[in-house]
Every structure is written in C-alpha cells, then in structure tokens.
C-alpha cells in the first residue's frame, strides 16, 4: 500500500470501531459460554468487521441500514449503544428491543437500523421498500442492505434487487461474502457468480476486498455519494471470511483443516489495519490501547446487562397490535 497519503486519524477511528465490534462479540461469546447469560444462538462476525466499519462510516445518522442474523457489527457501526445491545442479547429490560428480540432481531430505530432478521434474505425486499419510502417522501437519505452470500440463493434476492432497479431507488446492496452458508460452502450450492446476478439485473456492481477497511471505505464513499446524487441502486460484493463458526458454539469442523487459521493469519482486517498503522508510525502501545478501551467498554456493557432485571412480565403482551391487542383479548 502507498502510505504517503494514508489518513492516520481515519485509520485509528476505523481500528477503534473494528475493535469495538470484535470486543462486543468476544464478550458476548464469553458471556454465553462461561456464564450462560446469552440465551439464544448468536452469530459472530469475527473476521468481517471491516465490511460494517468501512461502509457504514459513509452514512448519515438518518440513512437506513438493514441487517441479517449476523448483525452486531452493523448495528454498532450505525451508532447503537453497546450496553443496550448487550442487554438485548441477555434478554433484559433496557435492551434495544426490550428483551423481545435478542441477537437475531436486534434493531435500533433511533439510529435508523431497521433490524437484523432471523429469516435469511428477507431483509432484501424490506430494504428496497425503505428506499421506496424515501423516494415517495422526497427524502435524500439512502439505504444500505447487508446480506450474506447464501442469501443470494433465495427468491427475495431476485425480487428485491429487481425492485430497486425498476423503481430506481437509493439503495446499496452489500453482499458480505464470507464463503459459507452455515455449514455449506456457498459455491457448492450456487450456479454462476453472485455479482453477475446483480449485473444481469442492471445494477452497477463493484467487487471489493472486504478485509481491507481503508480501501473499502474509499470505495464505499464513492458509491454512497453516487447513490445519494443519482438515486440509483448499486451492488457491492465484499469478499471476506468468517473466522469463527456459524454460531458461537459451532466448531466449524466442516472446513478444510487449517483453513481458518491460515485465513485468520492472512485476512483478519484488524491485524491488517494494525500493521498499516504501525508502518505509519503509530506505536504498539497506542494500538493496544484502542483494543483495551474497546474491551473495557464491552466489559462495562456486560456488567450493566448482567445487573439489569428481566423485562416486566406484562410486556409479553405489549406491542403486538392496537386493535385486538392481546392485552385486551388473547383468546
């Protein structure tokens, strides 16, 4: 990399965000395994932090994102508070969703994060619709929709991407290609190439190294500016790798021996950015300090979550519907 015009401040900011995402997930994993505090399955994005970080830094607070079952990184990067997120993972009062959604339904409408989704691919049409809403209301926001490589094999991928093209909507579809769909190698179950599908649907399509946060942020800056300017949808294929298992308890033995270790050594976006920052003169102490700060933040978030009460019993029936609410009649 040519370091002569490397923006060190931006690099440090990005490193801090990626460390926060990693620390959030490692803390959550520890809380799940050691303390059994996290109740349901959680999907970690360890190794994929650059995608959330590099893309979302280009968004405004009033831009929208939609995410997947693997959504902690996107949510944090959009500006959600770690302690509210941790409480949600523990099913506690004060969680982003009041303990009703957990990891797979994490959402923070305050920062316009319109939800993770427990149904693979389902967020694609909804995201297109959020962009449709923006267009109808005459807004200048944009939408970013994150989904996995595996999701591109579901029907809503075709319907949602086509929709955005037909109506010329201000949306960026980001396929976060970590090579796997649960325990299946996605390429084994995919005919042709995913980016070609987007091209065939008429979307301007960019393929990028999803583990190089510096380059990805620059690419995403251009793309998001263009979408805001033209109101035209685009597609970004971000190649990355899921260093951890599908869920926090998945040993991922279906991967060829040594693959994860080799990929971790060569592709980890945090390690790569640290190396670049070192080369530009940032001390190891300073780099380690960012990681420590992130870990301390997430330890505090876990402490707060551990101490938080369960949601009030009566909230089980709240926020279902106004008309015919189960608070009034459930039988």
């Amino acid at each position: 990399m040519n370091l002569s015009n490397f923006d060190q401040d931006a690099g440090l900011r990005r490193l801090h965000m990626m460390e926060r995402i990693r620390a959030f997930e490692e803390t959550a994993r520890r809380a799940a395994i050691d303390e059994e505090l996290v109740l349901g399955a959680i999907h970690l994005s360890i190794g994929q932090e650059a995608v959330a970080t590099g893309i979302i830094e280009n968004l405004r607070r009033d831009d929208y994102i939609l995410s997947t079952h693997r959504g902690h990184g996107h949510t944090l990067a959009k500006g959600a508070q770690a302690d509210a997120m941790m409480k949600e993972l523990l099913g506690r009062e004060g969680g982003c969703c009041g303990g009703k959604g957990g990891s797979m339904h994490i959402a923070d409408f305050g920062v316009r994060m319109l939800g993770a989704n427990g149904v693979v691919g389902a967020n694609i049409t909804i995201a297109a619709g959020a962009a449709h809403g923006i267009k109808l209301l005459g807004g200048d926001q944009i939408v970013v929709c994150f989904f996995g490589d595996g999701a591109s094999n579901r029907g809503p991928f075709l319907e949602g991407v086509n929709w955005a093209g037909v109506f010329q909507l201000p949306i960026l579809f980001v396929c976060e290609d970590n090579q796997y769909s649960a325990s299946t190698l996605t390429s084994d179950m995919t005919s042709g190439n995913i980016a070609d599908r987007a091209r065939a649907l008429g979307l301007r399509t960019t393929e990028a190294d999803g583990n190089d946060v510096t380059a990805l942020a620059a690419t995403a800056a251009e793309i998001t500016a263009r979408i805001r300017e033209t109101g035209t949808p685009e597609f970004l294929m971000a190649k990355t790798y899921r260093i951890s298992g599908h869920t926090y308890f998945d040993p991922a033995t279906y991967r060829p021996e040594g693959e994860a270790e080799r990929m971790k050594a060569t592709t980890c976006p945090i390690a790569r950015l640290r190396e670049t920052l070192s080369e530009t003169g940032v001390s190891t102490d300073e780099l380690d300090g960012l990681a420590q700060e992130a870990r301390a933040e997430m330890d505090r978030a876990l402490d707060a979550a551990r101490d938080a009460p369960w949601p009030a019993d009566e909230t089980a029936f709240a926020d279902v519907q106004d008309i015919g609410s189960p608070l009034q009649e459930a039988f």
Binding site: H132, G133, E159, Q321
Partner: protein, 324 residues
C-alpha cells in the same frame, strides 16, 4: 347517500384517504390499468403512477417493499390480486410484518392495508378461489376483516387505512358488482359486528359473502315461520363476541356458516368460544366447505359450495331436532 358497487365503494374510500394523506399509496400488479377487478380504475389519473404504483410480478417484494416503505413513514395499500397469490408473500406477512413491532420492542409500526381478493368465483378452480381467512386470524399482530356489503367495503377500508396495525383486508371476488347504498359519514369499528337481521329463534353468524347468503336464508326461514338473527362479524380479529353471545343468549341456537373449509375454519373458533360460555338449547353447528378442493367444472365446484338453501336447511334442522 349514493348507490354504488362493492368495488367502487372501496375505491372511493381509497381515493378519499389518498386526498387526505399524501403518505397513502397503493402498490400491486396492473394497478395503472385499474387492477384486475377494476377496483382502482381512474385512480392513477388522479394520483399519478408513483402513488398508484404498478409492480413486477413479485408478490414477496410487493409485500416486503411495502413493509419497508411503511417503516420509512408511508402508509401503503398492498394489492395481492388474488388471496391465493398472497401465499407467495407469506414470510413477509407472517414473519416480518406481523411480528416487527413486537420483536423490535415497539420501535416500529406497520400501518398497511393488505388487500386479498378471496373466495369462489365461477370456474376459477383450486388456485383462484380459496378462502383462507382463518390462517390470518391465527396470526398475532394482524387485524383481519372480510366486508360483505358496499357500505362495509367503504367504511372498513377507511378504518383499515387509518389503522396503525397491518390489516388483512379480504374482499370477496363474487360481489365486486353488488350494489348498495353507501353513507360516507358512517364509520365502522373493527370488532363490531353488523346485525343484518333480527330474530329470536336461531342465530346465524357469518362474514364475507356468506353473510349475504345468510340474509337470503333468513328470508326463506321467515316464510317457514322461523325468525333467524343474522350477525355479520365483518372482522375476524378482533371479532364481536359480545354481539354473538347476546344473540345466542336470546335464541339458544347457533349456526355459523362460511365459505372456507369447515375443518379448522374460523367457524370452529366461534362455536367453541360460544359453547364454552353460553348454554344452548341445541347443539351448535357450523357449516363450511367439505375439506375438498375447488374444481373447475361447475358440478364439481358446487360440491364445495355453501349455499343459502343449505344454510336455511341447517337452521330448520336445528329447530326440528330440538330435544323435548
């Protein structure tokens, strides 16, 4: 008061709501040409193609995108063309729209009207004829309504558009052309049944077009000296238990009739709820389609039909088989 068709009554409600609120819009296949049943005719001329929006044949995306647009601050009216095709958007409706407000801890709403033309229509066969209202009544988060008259198709459409919950709005395909008086000042509340006829001998509970058949059956019964009370539920969730209970307390006899398959139909829900609460003079009865499939040939199709004479006969049987 004007006389208009069931289709035009809903169209008037949509047009009025769109004039009042610029965030209301309609989306579905072929809407720019008036929709397949002409229930949107003329609207694109007034509101333009953005607000009367055509859509690709992508039911999942129509439903999902409308939901996204609802979360972004608009109030979509979704046209599914046939209730049967809405099954292509089941995940979007059941897993996403119905659950979002709850799963996200009250952060979002889905103020949507989801129009699903339902029911038998001569020789439309198994994939264009179904009545699946009980499926939706089963899903927490959804309001379900089945208007049977032009008045209700006006008033309930108005209420559905104003509602902040997702409303599954099932119009019956066989009655688009039915005409009736429409009083545009008349409001209808979900969960309030319409008393279509008063009587003291037997309570007929129904909804959608079968409620009209119940009125017909009640006329026949009256000629035979039986006064039937006809309750048109209009909405299945919430449904007007109080009105049904009051009526059955008076008549002591309950017959529920609907076009959908009887097995696990909403009639079972009504009968069970009444049976748990109100003592009756005779065993309650439900009359629905056999658990068979709707065929193309009229003589086969008719075997799945609930008709006015069948309803009258079932009510008459209840009168005659009364235990001493």
């Amino acid at each position: 008061m004007a006389v208009m068709s069931y289709a035009d009554a809903a169209k008037l409600a949509v047009a009025e709501a769109m004039r009042d609120d610029p965030t209301v819009w309609c989306v579905g296949e072929d809407l720019g040409r008036g929709g397949v049943f002409k229930q949107y005719t003329g609207l694109v001329e007034e509101f333009g193609p953005q607000r009367i929006s055509d859509a690709p044949i992508s039911e999942a995306a129509i439903m999902g995108a409308a939901f996204g647009a609802a979360m972004a601050g608009t109030r979509p009216i979704v046209e599914m063309r046939f209730a049967d095709f809405a099954l292509c958007a089941t995940d979007e409706l059941v897993n996403q729209i119905a659950k979002a407000r709850f799963m996200f801890g009250g952060q979002s709403r889905a103020p949507m009207v989801i129009r699903k033309p339902m029911g038998m229509w001569r020789s439309s066969a198994a994939q264009h004829s179904q009545s699946l209202e009980s499926w939706y009544a089963h899903i927490p988060g959804l309001v379900v309504c089945c208007p049977a008259t032009p008045q209700d198709n006006y008033s309930m459409m108005k209420a559905a558009i104003a509602c902040d919950d997702p409303v599954v709005y099932l119009e019956h395909k066989n009655i688009w052309a039915h005409e009736g008086e429409v009083d545009t000042t008349k409001a209808v509340e979900f969960g309030k049944a319409a008393l279509r006829r008063s009587g003291q001998h037997v309570t007929l509970v129904s909804w959608s077009h079968t409620a009209n058949l119940c009125v017909e059956a009640a006329d026949t019964l009256a000629r035979q000296g039986v006064e039937a009370e006809v309750i048109d539920l209009r909405s299945l969730w919430p449904w007007d238990k109080a009105a049904v209970f009051d009526s059955v307390r008076k008549t002591g006899r309950l017959l529920v009739a609907h076009e959908a398959v009887s097995v696990a139909g909403f009639g079972a829900e009504v009968v069970a709820t009444v049976a748990q609460n109100i003592p009756m003079k005779t065993l309650p009865k439900r009359l629905g389609s056999p658990r068979g499939l709707i065929a193309y040939a009229p003589n086969l199709e008719d075997q799945m039909r609930v008709t006015a004479p069948m309803i009258a006969k079932a009510a008459q049987d209840m009168m005659e088989n009364e235990p001493a």
